[in-house]
Symmetry: C2
Subunit: 348 residues, 2 copies
């Protein structure tokens, strides 16, 4: 996209209904305690008849996996945040289904259904990582201007927090995480914080992140035009597993001390990557320098991911404003027409 396109103003539907979810992983405690705090405030607000914020946006606060949260575990039976693919949400269901499969359908009914006009306009799902990643928004699109504008707003409002936009290049139907249920959505991932621990600095960063996001949404809904510009995007390229013992399949190395905590610092071919428990260094054998992230994330040991690697690009985003009521009506009619056309094509 050229400068000309950056100057262009696109308009986007009003974000009337936003969901803020925490405890999708029950041991990622910043989100758990932030959601509990927001629910407490909401209850107090309702009791006192405060509804000021609701004029500009309706916010739904959700503790996603209450059972896992109660046990302070990532999940009870299976990872809830992998249950939101089209296939899993619509597959057969038995009495013996894992708890998280049942819960994913409840959440899909509450916040979706995924892909439908009734779905939340925006879903922000709160996560923590043991990796030194600062604050990251993780999304499936590199052209969702809403998500990218929110990211840019957070960057400007919280200049002291290292912040990145991570793009998982996966088709909507294959997208698996809770945030994919919304029309727009992202995970807000903050670290480093051990799972099962809440660190005040990480909690506070998340609290401000959510506040600034909601401020942006209210400002957007009230008609503000946000300038276009450029955003740095990290697109995930591949995952790398730990070296493993050939017999036991246990890991045989830890992340190399020279790589540990260096998320988003360019990794070059032949840079140290692992240190074997017996002492030797294992080097990065890729041909292309790439950006490592999720380095030594606790929950990814069982997923065979020691770190992920990304390519960095600069993406131009256009200026944006909310649609007027007439524009919205027009857009709705066009969408209806194109849907009917599609149906006719299918029938042919």
């Amino acid at each position: 996209m050229r400068q000309m396109e950056v100057d262009k103003v696109v308009c986007s539907s009003r974000l009337s209904r936003v969901a803020v979810c925490g405890g999708t992983h029950g041991n990622e405690l910043s989100g758990v305690y932030l959601v509990r705090e927001l629910l407490k405030k909401e209850k107090k607000g309702t009791e006192e008849g405060e509804e000021e914020g609701e004029k500009l946006v309706s916010v739904k606060i959700v503790l996603s996996n209450p059972w896992a949260t109660q046990q302070c575990r990532r999940y009870v039976n299976t990872d809830l945040n992998r249950c939101f693919t089209h296939a899993t949400l619509n597959g057969p269901m038995t009495d013996m289904a894992p708890y998280e499969l049942i819960r994913s359908r409840e959440l899909n009914a509450m916040l979706g259904p995924k892909g439908s006009p009734q779905a939340m306009d925006l879903v922000c799902d709160l996560h923590n990582t043991t990796a030194n990643m600062g604050l990251c928004l993780i999304a499936y699109s590199d052209s969702d201007w809403i998500c990218l504008h929110i990211f840019r707003h957070l960057q400007r409002q919280m200049p002291d927090i290292p912040m990145r936009y991570i793009h998982f290049d996966i088709a909507k139907e294959e997208s698996y995480s809770l945030d994919s249920v919304g029309k727009h959505g992202f995970a807000m991932e903050i670290g480093p914080q051990p799972h099962g621990v809440v660190r005040s600095n990480i909690y506070t960063a998340m609290k401000f992140g959510v506040q600034h996001m909601l401020d942006w949404v209210r400002s957007f809904n009230s008609g503000t035009i946000f300038d276009g510009g450029f955003v740095e995007v990290f697109t995930m390229v591949k995952h790398i597993d730990y070296p493993r013992d050939s017999e036991s399949h246990n890991i045989a190395a830890a992340i190399h001390p020279q790589l540990q905590d260096r998320d988003f610092c360019l990794l070059h071919p032949e840079d140290p990557m692992f240190q074997m428990f017996s002492g030797e260094t294992v080097r990065y054998k890729g041909k292309e320098p790439l950006y490592p992230f999720f380095i030594n994330e606790c929950a990814y040991y069982e997923k065979s991911i020691a770190l992920s690697l990304a390519r960095k690009r600069h993406i131009a985003i256009p200026a944006i404003r909310v649609m007027t009521d007439e524009e919205q009506q027009h857009a709705d009619q066009q969408e209806l027409a194109s849907e009917e056309e599609e149906e006719e094509e299918e029938e042919e």
Copy 2:
């Protein structure tokens, strides 16, 4: 103890049998992977007929809680490292006993029995903490010269690692941890490392810690006289819980950012201690400045411990050497005589 006493040479029994245990908590991974590595080396050594180290000391390597380790959890049913009191080890046993209760008796049979002449001469139990504690030896005695000399040796050999000796002032009978099964014993606690994660720097510190400990034992057994001197000891005074919600009993605050990671930095009355999730600061209300440690340890949320506080003292330790064979014989005879005397007194 005065300088004169520091110059005194005490003699102590040979440390013929030493146990190095890891995975007492199944998600404290430095110990888990170090023990696996040592077991692998041991197996290789046995196959190749290497027995050089065994001449000076016999080392038993133990994975304490294999079931919890397999599940990467602290414990399966109950905290194994609280099961080694006299009462628990000798109490009634049912078919429905928690796994760790059964395992504690196996370990007591293997490394003890606790308090008996058959017990291991030294038990070193490997642990990790999410707190920024560096390397700590935790013991029940401030006058176990063996433990204190080993500590001083580690300090000298690893000057780059912050190192402290923590003293839990608990009677031998009430002592509850695995290391209490040995004639001498301590936990080697290293952090910060999230549970469920292994960090190369922490793993390496533990590996060197164990190596230097065994080097000291071999050197001691071979007749070296170790000079007396002074050691800084932190004696635990009390634990402090998190502020909690009066209704739900959930924690209502995190450790204050000004206290987080400041283990062993003197905490003064009125210093910030917690930051409420709603934002307010809670201050330390004690009257005495004390040294905080185990600040924000993950596993202590369920034990209602946000941090512990200690008093610091300097303890004089005498020079030490191993007993000669004659001295040992004489000591054994004396012990036997005093036991008989005690029995007679009990009978009277």
